[in-house]
Symmetry: C2
Subunit: 191 residues, 2 copies
Amino acid sequence: MKILKIEKITNEKWLNLYAATYEHNGKTGRWVYASRRDTCEPGAKCDAVIIVPVLHEEGKPPRLVMIREFRVPVGGYDYGFPAGLLEPGEGVEETVRREIIEETGMEVIRFRRISPPVFSSAGLTDESAALAFVDVRATPEMRQKLEGTEEIDVVLLDYEQVCKLCDNPDLPLDAKAWSTLYMYQRLGKLD
Amino acid sequence: MKILKIEKITNEKWLNLYAATYEHNGKTGRWVYASRRDTCEPGAKCDAVIIVPVLHEEGKPPRLVMIREFRVPVGGYDYGFPAGLLEPGEGVEETVRREIIEETGMEVIRFRRISPPVFSSAGLTDESAALAFVDVRATPEMRQKLEGTEEIDVVLLDYEQVCKLCDNPDLPLDAKAWSTLYMYQRLGKLD
């Protein structure tokens, strides 16, 4: 399969549709996908980070830090992880440190694992993000700095609550969030 | 936050952009998102299934079944799981049984876990899918039935290969796929 050309078919500020013409077994086809990028080069550039933070506090069990946020496409509140787009010239670790403070008021004390850029839905969009598993601590202020258009609630979950959220069929969850909850449930602990 | 109205702003066959007008703290804003749906009702309908199949064969270690597939938005081959859209009136388990045969020639012998519909990227699209963890067996024919416009390769991975793929920074991977590989790596086995 080969991509012959890519055309931008909308002119929105944050998200656009692109139409790719491809060749496959001598036939040509058209594939429409969504992108946040300005150029029409598909591929594995890292657009964003998704942070899986575990809060460690003395005398308390480790707790997973999640975000309850209003999401327009979902039509309501969604549970997910702190996340954000890389700014020009910014590296993944830098973005993680910035976003976790901005969204939760917490600080990274240890990077445990960073995934390569992975695709959110490879047939629908070129959006890719690195997943960063980090240990965090609360800063003295621990204040949420809310961004203008977002309503964000920070939620702290111990192991039992992680399992409960994973097993709840009625709460809207992000796919990466559910997969991570399920991982901890299978592991039998939050560490 | 409240959604005041939603307008379809493109007229494509498979994927469209919608613009939602929302109200937040007395101000209104506009949020553009991508959707495969025909209606403009956001929410947690289940669009698709993503299948995490483990193949069990006598005298062999269990192996994870993945798909290597050309993905236009990615601009190349991507590793992910067998997946597919629900047909009208079809339930999640039915879709899983149909898609796994169509894409890999294998049969479900046990459903281990089905997630609620989870969102691929809740800020960008209303796309949601149920993740189904299943045990599978190979049918005598074990032939791939390739769909018209897709190039699909079935890949079987034992535990060591799962870890290797999880640790490879250069292979394009779907987010749900990487999260699952990481879960098995952390569990220390494929079961």
